[in-house]
């Protein structure tokens, strides 16, 4: 098919083995142009051709052609839709208005084909048919529709698909999780359930911006952190355990004997690393040096273990996480804007995950932190930046969490210590006249 705009630069991205987004967009453009099903497209039928055209222009210019901003949305929501207009509307009328709709993905990103087809029925009729599966925060992203279609899309989503929008703007962003105990033996709690619970519980915070800036929840089932919660969420829920790593000594021998491949088979590539060496590959790599062999028995001094996951990852059939499981809460991670990148800082070392009590131990920490941040946070100040500005002690204080050595990498190296007046006997009320009785001017 001959397309509306020549795209010589983009066409070069059709070759090579990796799936070509250009080829895929061309398929959608053809689908719309041929329209064999006679769909009454609600936005211009050549919208994808214009999208290819304007992207080609960016490849030629080395600059974006999307304009800043655009206040659009659905009634009563402050988030979920992002306005987008192009700066060449005359040359590319099909993408003159090309708004994004964020659709809240289900926990674990599991789908049925019936559900996905229903979404595509809406999106190919009322939008461009182009999506992101998924956006960086986790949502299903619908790329490109016009303002009059927004309410229609929302109405069909809620009435026909029982499905809501995600978050955008200065509010709670769509929470995201790893697949957790649904298909992973490492999971220390049901991440899918907690993600769903928090998403439902905080719908108001998701849709109506009341925060100083964005706020992200992410749930990882174990310290392997497959959804990177520790690096990219204002509040990270990382599964962990308190008791002993479970050992199957027979399986340990099977690893030593080479009957089971190391690391869940992760080295089964073109390179031969030689036979598995438990001393070199597990015991010597343990960061706390808390493991050793006694004859044919693997021993672990669990009290010294920091649950880094290496030994469990290396021998998943021999070692399992403990039974007394819960999660650690870390706060303040973010990308660089505005004050530089930050990693999550350990706030609550161990929180019990109790769905039967509506996860009250988790929501208590969330709400304490939010109350402080909403009161003290400046415009566009992420939680991590507030923690730096007011100090980590303050975060512990508002959450009623007792300071412990696990809260620091090492204790402070400078003695510029702030004391509260009530911590010093006699307080700060002083009497200069009394002092001068014994100390001449």
């Amino acid at each position: 098919m001959k397309f509306k705009h020549a795209t010589p630069l983009l066409d070069q991205l059709e070759s090579g083995p990796w799936p070509s987004f250009v080829s895929d967009m061309k398929l959608e453009a053809e689908f719309r142009a041929k329209n064999e099903q006679g769909i009454d497209f609600q936005i211009p039928s050549d919208t994808v051709e214009d999208l290819l055209g304007i992207l080609e222009l960016s490849y030629k210019h080395g600059r974006t052609h999307w304009k800043h901003g655009g206040i659009v949305g659905v009634f009563g929501y402050g988030g979920g839709v992002i306005g987008r207009y192009c700066d060449q509307p005359e040359n590319f009328p099909g993408v003159q208005a090309f708004h994004t709709v964020r659709v809240n993905q289900p926990s674990g990103k599991y789908y049925t084909t019936d559900y996905l087809r229903k979404l595509m029925d809406i999106w190919q009729l009322r939008g461009s048919g182009i999506t992101n599966m998924h956006g960086a925060t986790g949502d299903i992203i619908f790329l490109g529709t016009t303002t009059p279609q927004l309410e229609e899309i929302f109405y069909e989503l809620t009435h026909n698909v029982n499905q809501d929008l995600g978050g955008s703007g200065s509010n709670l962003r769509t929470p995201a999780d790893c697949l957790g105990s649904s298909r992973c033996e490492y999971a220390c709690y049901d991440t899918n359930a907690l993600c769903y619970f928090l998403t439902q519980t905080y719908q108001d915070e998701l849709h109506r911006p009341a925060f100083p800036y964005k706020f992200k929840f992410k749930m990882d089932g174990c310290p392997n952190c497959c959804v990177a919660s520790i690096a990219r969420s204002d509040m990270a829920f990382v599964g962990t355990w308190k008791d002993e790593i479970r050992i199957d000594q027979e399986a340990v021998q099977a690893y030593i004997g080479g009957e089971i491949p190391a690391n869940g088979g992760a080295f089964k590539g073109s390179r031969d690393w030689g036979p598995f060496d438990i001393q070199k590959e597990v015991i010597d790599l343990c960061p706390t040096e808390c493991m050793w062999m006694e004859g044919k028995t693997l021993k672990i001094d669990n009290k010294e273990c920091t649950r880094c996951m290496h030994c469990i990852n290396a021998m998943p059939r021999a070692l399992r996480v403990g039974k007394d499981t819960g999660l650690s809460i870390l706060v303040g991670a973010k990308a660089p804007i505005v004050d530089g990148a930050q990693m999550g800082t350990l706030l609550a070392p161990f929180v019990e995950v109790k769905p039967e009590e509506d996860y009250s131990a988790v929501t208590e920490v969330i709400e304490n932190i939010w109350n402080w941040w909403m009161e003290e946070g400046k415009n566009r100040e992420r939680l991590g930046e507030l923690i730096i500005r007011q100090g980590f002690q303050k975060a512990l204080e508002v959450c009623n969490i007792t300071p412990q050595p696990c809260h620091v990498e090492y204790p402070r190296t400078n003695p510029y210590i702030f004391w509260k007046e009530e911590e010093v006997p006699g307080g700060w009320v002083n009497d200069i006249e009394e002092y001068r009785k014994h100390h001449l001017r």
Partner: protein, 382 residues
């Protein structure tokens, strides 16, 4: 085109309105074998690159075939994915955090037909639609942002840089020859919607010129105090400007030496665009990770301060990434992540082995983050 009503009545927007229902319950979407064995999984094994088996204490197994995807995905392609899932997986599938698609089957004999079907499907341009891989000690899919395709602040394209990079790293997507997993990420501006700051290798779009000031419109479109407050280096101050017409308007002035082109002011004020053909390009970062395994999570470090945008395939960028991957593959120990390898051999050797030039731009000068990155010992390598 005739307008089709969904049933929404703009005159009575609250009538029958449904709001705040959240996403669908995940329990509706689990494949039956997943629903039956949730929380009962004993162990997993990667049978071959891209194919996993999880074994439950009930004795049941689930086989997963993982395929890469471009993240940008058309409705037509999603319908094809649905057809595959209907044919092989009883209408179920899932996506991973790194934009892979996972097709799951409940017995081993269903794996080969599924693999053959996936591998046979190609786009008319020649690329795979569903390449199998992305597991274990290899390269998995690149997480990325919107780029020129749909964003107003990018300094580079995302889909294009990712396509170019994954074509170069494709063998390592389908192999597991590396010492550990290698995660590559892409963000098209410093805002890092993709949060690439903790990746083994990160591609970052970056501006290098202070904002252009659209004085005639600035006060009409922007809250000047917000633009001033947004600047992390206090480079912006208010200024009265006399236009060519003689009119005096309220605007701002940028102390150009103090600007580090973060674009935060543009986010607050559309009259301060930064995009510039020569100014914009790519920063490469390396050595970050998010896992707590063996060593603590760590930030990526800037290893190349600038590579020009060279459309459509960014050859200098992909060649540099290839050199880093090869140096890591041959130099690191089994289980050693990219950043741990760099720290063990020292950054002196890192730049040597990766054939990357060290320049003054790689010495941090941003606030007190910087001090902690300087060498404060005589323990260095010649």
């Amino acid at each position: 085109m005739a307008f089709i009503s969904s049933g929404f009545n703009p005159d009575k927007p609250l009538e029958n309105r449904i709001t705040d229902i959240g996403p669908r319950d995940f329990n509706e979407f689990y494949p039956p074998v997943i629903a039956r064995n949730k929380g009962k999984w004993l162990y997993h094994e990667i049978i071959e690159p891209g194919v996993l088996v999880h074994v439950s204490e009930t004795g049941e197994e689930v086989y997963t075939v993982r395929v890469g995807a471009a993240r940008l995905m058309s409705g037509t392609l999603i319908r094809e994915i649905c057809d595959i899932a209907d044919k092989h997986c009883d209408g179920h599938l899932r996506f991973t955090t790194r934009n892979n698609i996972e097709f799951m089957v409940d017995s081993k004999d269903k794996v080969a037909p599924l693999k053959a079907d996936l591998a046979s499907r190609k786009f008319p341009g020649g690329s795979f639609k569903f390449p199998i891989g992305g597991t274990g000690c290899g390269v998995t899919n690149i997480v990325h942002t919107q780029g020129w395709l749909h964003c107003h602040t990018p300094a580079s394209d995302a889909s294009g840089t990712v396509k170019a990079t994954m074509d170069v790293l494709f063998k390592d997507f389908q192999d597991m020859r590396l010492p550990a997993q290698l995660r590559v990420s892409m963000a098209c501006c410093l805002n890092m919607c993709g949060a690439v700051h903790c990746s083994d290798i990160a591609i970052l779009g970056y501006h290098r010129k202070p904002p252009k000031m659209d004085h005639e419109y600035l006060d009409k479109l922007c809250e000047i105090p917000l633009a001033i407050a947004a600047c992390p280096t206090a480079a912006i101050k208010p200024k009265k400007i006399t236009l060519d017409s003689g009119a005096i308007v309220n605007s701002i002035d940028v102390n150009q030496d103090r600007c580090m082109y973060c674009g935060n002011c543009y986010t607050m004020c559309p009259s301060l665009p930064l995009a510039d053909t020569e100014g914009d390009g790519i920063v490469l970062m390396a050595g970050g990770k998010v896992s707590n395994r063996i060593s603590a999570p760590k930030f990526s470090k800037v290893v190349v301060a600038f590579i020009e945008n060279d459309m459509p395939r960014w050859p200098k960028m992909t060649q540099t990434i290839s050199r880093m991957v090869e140096a890591y593959a041959s130099g690191a120990r089994k289980y050693e992540r990219f950043g741990d390898w760099a720290e063990r051999i020292g950054w002196e050797r890192f730049f040597e082995k990766c054939e990357i030039e060290f320049t003054h731009h790689l010495i941090d000068d941003f606030r007190d983050h910087a001090y902690h990155t300087w060498r404060q010992t005589t323990q260095f390598k010649f």
